[in-house]
Subunit: 331 residues, 2 copies
């Protein structure tokens, strides 16, 4: 068996890792091989409103379910991506807009007590970045960042091949770069943050602000109503040629380009990976964002950087979380 | 001689380094001890208009002058800070607003040919950051950045104790963070860059834009005229209570605060050092900038970061350039 790694000596089952991607809406869990293949995957609603205890129990249950579905391999560690600012060292959640009431909560200690495998926690966008770096769009790239454009915006920065956490674990908050100084108030306390424009929520808000234009827009008129608008509907209408909806994506692209230019001029990295639910509509905004970025960047770093859609889709968070468990063993 | 380092064995003279701070206006050169003390210092106008050859000759002359002024010590290396984007590896200047015509010029090779000591080149703001880290405001700090607020804005980022150059040496262009998306056009090709508001030039421009208010301002009225305005005059008037001039510093502070918040939210570093000529007026804007930054940053990294004036003043560039020569030998 010449290709076996040293860890899996003769008769020793191959290792695998479980990655848990805890989101405000869905809990995604998968078993991931040492090569980054997803061996099994399951998903359940997070049901945050059901309370912390219930969700923690659910996490333990899906881990158990996953473990039972993987035969003939040895579980060697579990990684958990958390939608908030969390210290990988202590496991304490310092801030989380989607898990209100979990602040100052040590999720690592509480879960580790019930688990027999090494447990690692990390911010979900950081985990996503590592996943894309391991088997996704940023394979072989040492200096890049990831944006996850979903309800809000997450970010992770990788420098010299490692996550840049900053001194308190708060680094990489790309969603809170200021792109409009007098702009829309943000939950973070600032205003005009990238997240307020370049996210599903931001897109819907911009659409609702243009209420009168929407009513005039032929495709939207009488369809779902202003209140029923979703980012997906806006994307569909834009693709069908609705000028108002296409215009919203142009606005989004411009703000994204400004944020990307700030990153280029500050960090001169190799790649920016754009993921998250909204990246399914990247055909509607990514090339315009790239153009805006180029207009606003120094030439060399602007032309050097690749702005690409994420490759792992919904599995990025799982694969990245598993990699954290794997990576920690590697070092 | 128990305190002597191993390099300066018995009868071997102590080492020193020469730091050259090449600016668009002045050429500053100093001899710096291994402890960061300035042993001798001289200054000459750069006279960029006199041509590249003449300025290169002047650089060699002031190095020679400096060398002759330091007795009993051994010159061990020369560091050169260049006002532009320069590759420390190749020595080629890629971009320089203040040294037009020097682009794609290998300043390192040309000077090294005439010098008998190791020569290192670096961007001037990066050199300044290293100087402040060595003996200035950021002593003992591993993660910080420096802004030099002068005619324009320079920036240098230090992560884990080393300059973050980015993959092409273009990182740290803090002056080109976008703070006003539809703002004033910038020489870099973008618009609304921090540098257009938070610099001596920016301040004077903002004053000139408020021409009618200036004419109404009691202190400025009939004093130096709108065209004769300087950042220093505006600062003096602001200190004397002129509300228009004080208001300009408030505007500057707000934009600086926005840029600082972007840095805080992206990098979660420990300190931001504010230097350059305009920092002589930091009493007029630094605390307001800090407040704006706090409003726009996440709490933990916002309260963690120290925003402080530079300590080395005019010598920062010299000391930092010398450190580059010293540091390269240390590794």
């Amino acid at each position: 068996m010449p290709h076996q790694s040293s860890q899996s000596a003769k008769n020793m089952p191959m290792r695998y890792f479980i990655g848990v991607d805890l989101g405000g809406t869905n809990l995604k869990v998968g078993a991931v091989s040492t090569k980054g293949e997803v061996l099994f995957r399951t998903e359940a609603p997070s049901d945050v409103k059901g309370g912390r205890g219930a969700l923690l129990k659910k996490i333990l249950n899906v881990i158990e379910e996953t473990r039972h579905m993987v035969k003939g391999k040895r579980l060697s560690g579990i990684g958990l991506g958390v939608p908030g600012i969390v210290s990988p060292e202590t496991g304490i959640i310092a801030q989380s807009p989607n898990l209100a009431g979990w602040v100052d909560f040590n999720i690592k200690d509480v879960l580790a007590e019930k688990l027999s495998w090494p447990l690692y926690v990390e911010n979900d966008a950081n985990a996503f970045a590592l996943g894309e770096g391991w088997t996704g769009a940023a394979v072989g790239i040492k200096n890049f960042c990831c944006l996850t454009l979903g309800t809000g915006v997450g970010g992770g920065i990788v420098l010299n091949g490692s996550l840049w956490h900053g001194v308190d674990g708060f680094a990489g908050e790309i969603g809170h770069i200021v792109v409009e100084p007098d702009g829309v108030p943000c939950n973070c306390g600032s205003q005009g943050c990238l997240e307020r424009y370049v996210s599903a929520n931001g897109l819907v808000r911009m659409a609702q602000e243009g209420k009168d234009d929407i009513l005039a827009a032929p495709l939207l008129k009488g369809c779902c109503g202003v209140d029923g608008l979703s980012a997906k509907a806006i994307a569909d209408f834009a693709r069908q040629g609705d000028p108002f909806c296409a215009g919203l994506f142009q606005k989004l692209a411009r703000y994204l380009g400004i944020g990307l230019a700030d990153i280029v001029n500050l960090l001169n990295i190799e790649m920016i990976v754009v993921g998250g639910g909204l990246s399914n509509a990247s055909d509607l905004f990514l090339s315009a964002a790239r153009e805006e970025m180029l207009k606003r960047s120094f030439k060399v770093p602007g032309h050097r950087i690749k702005v690409v859609p994420a490759r792992l889709g919904d599995n990025g968070g799982i694969i990245g979380a598993a990699f954290i468990a794997f990576g920690k063993e590697l070092h």
